[in-house]
Amino acid sequence: MEDTKLVEQAKDGDAAAYERLVREYEAVAFRTACLITGDAAEAEDAAQEAFVKAYLALKRFRPGAAFRPWLLAIVANEARNQRKSAGRRVALALRASKEPPRSGVSLSPEASAVASERRSELLRALEELGEGDRMVISCRYFLELSVEETAATLGCARGTVKSRLSRALGRLREVMTEENDAG
């Protein structure tokens, strides 16, 4: 069922409809919060709080508007608050699976090792970036959020996402080049 319909039903007090929305978006909400807080427990709290606040604000939700970006804006804000409360910087500790994606093509052992090393380089380089750069890259490529959703998560204008992303990619390239030169 479409989000719009579920939202309308939830507005009318249909708890099951809202639970379907929670089920639908709990993963992206939690992962978004994880990237911001850097901590699973804080991310869970933030996501939960965001779903509760979104529910309480549903009556003011504009009919026909997209639910997901709106929700992600709330999630991101809650996650930032959690992080502030914890009073620490985010320790980005992303790890990449060595297993090929389900739809992935099998590589030779040598090619697989090269690809794995390249992924490690990318992750290390990401850790070198500032939080703003990391977040815009993570939103777009890891969470695969749309520009609108990324804007909502970062709290910026849609047009700003593209320029931020371009700068972030440029800096990522620079870091990788420096590391390769040093290595």
């Binding site: 708890a15 809202y18 639970e19 929670v22 089920r23 709990e26 939690f30 994880c34 699973a40 869970e44 996501a47 939960q48 779903f51 509760v52 606040k53 979104a54 529910y55 309480l56 604000a57 003011r60 939700f61 504009r62 508007a65 970006p69 709106w70 804006a73 709330i74 804000n77 809650e78 930032r80 608050n81 502030k84 992303l94 790890r95 990449a96 699976s97 994606p101 040598e110 090269v114 090393e117 390249r118 992924r119 990318l122 992750l123 490529y141 890891f142 695969e144 804007a151 909502a152 998560t153 970062l154 709290g155 047009g159 700003t160 990619l169 990522l172 390239r173 990788m176 080049t177 290595g183």
Partner: protein, 322 residues
């Protein structure tokens, strides 16, 4: 060992997408049950609150200003039943601008939901300092809510009518440059002082009182609140026309006139914006955060309790250093 020479460095975006498909996140918790339980707890509580004392919105600020000192007069707080009812009515009637600017989830409110319009996602949490508005509290700070009440001659909710620039607190002149005067017509400037710092300026914020939570009430329902602000920029916090505010005030030392007040001792702990049902702190400190989490009935209750303690001599006001 992989050979970097043969690793393609182009198409970074494709590589990032591929990496993204492999990122290992912690397992997603089952949020449905927890959210359901929270909603079941929250909704009856909110409905009850609205039914008895419907509530509206408070919110936020940023500041670079210092605190004005205060003349302390302990006031006997009186909040009549009538006042409470009026207050409840005011909050209950907060449907207009208040709801539109609601915080919490509301800050990212659907009606203004496009995050790119700025205020939405950034200011969406009600019980916290504004994303961009809060400042670290500095200088004198209250140790407790009771002490803040004790130090305040007047605690009110109100609506800002106008903000008027007052005199600049002079620094020694220098040749270190100047900034355009944000309150001028383009021809005036604000000089940088010899020490490199900026001068400050008195700001007179005219507030129409909606309700007195601690009195005695002033003779008129329009008061002037004096604060200090860095002179090179206009304030972007609660000192804006039409902003609804909760203020803890003390009698002005600068103006020996009725109806002139300062924020009590410390600017940022004593000013909150009302947005929807929530208060948003303007300072990043634990006391402000606790105040911002109060519902309006809880706020009233805490003020009443503080008054009782003050009357018993158990709480003393914070006296600023002179």
């Amino acid at each position: 060992m992989p050979d970097r020479e043969h690793t393609p460095d182009l198409d970074l975006e494709r590589e990032l997408r591929e990496l993204g498909s492999r990122i290992e996140y912690p397992p997603t918790p089952d949020l449905v049950r927890a959210v359901r339980q929270r909603i079941e707890e929250e909704v009856p509580e909110r409905n009850a609150r609205r039914g008895i004392l419907g509530i509206p919105p408070l919110p936020s600020p940023r500041r670079a200003a210092a605190a004005a000192t205060l003349l302390l007069v302990l006031a006997v707080p009186v909040l009549s039943q009538t006042a409470r009812e009026e207050l409840a009515g005011w909050f209950g009637a907060g449907g207009g601008a208040g709801d539109a600017a609601q915080t919490g989830a509301a800050g990212s409110s659907p009606s203004s939901e496009t995050p790119e319009d700025g205020a939405s996602s950034g200011e969406s949490s009600a019980s916290t300092v504004l994303e961009q508005g809060g400042v670290e509290e500095s200088g004198p700070a209250f140790r407790s809510f009771d002490q803040m009440v004790a130090t305040s001659d007047l605690v009110v909710t109100g609506t800002v009518i106008e903000v008027m620039p007052g005199k600049i607190i002079e620094n020694e002149t220098s040749d270190k440059g100047s900034y355009p005067d944000p309150w001028g017509n383009g021809g005036t400037t604000v000089p940088v002082s010899e020490g490199g710092e900026f001068p400050t300026r008195l700001l007179n914020t005219v507030v129409r009182i909606d309700e007195v939570l601690k009195g005695p009430a002033p003779a008129t329902d329009v008061i002037t609140v004096q604060t200090l602000e860095m002179a090179y920029a206009r304030p972007t916090d609660w000192r804006k026309p039409e902003e609804r505010v909760l203020l803890f005030l003390s009698h002005s030392e600068e103006e020996d006139e009725p109806g002139h007040y300062n924020v009590a001792v410390t600017h940022s702990q004593t000013a909150y914006i009302i947005r929807g049902e929530d208060l948003v702190a303007t300072a990043k400190d634990p006391l402000s955060a606790r105040v911002a989490r109060l519902s309006f009935p809880e706020l009233l209750q805490k003020i009443e309790r503080a008054k009782e303690k003050i009357a018993r001599g158990e709480v003393k006001p914070l006296r600023p250093e002179r």
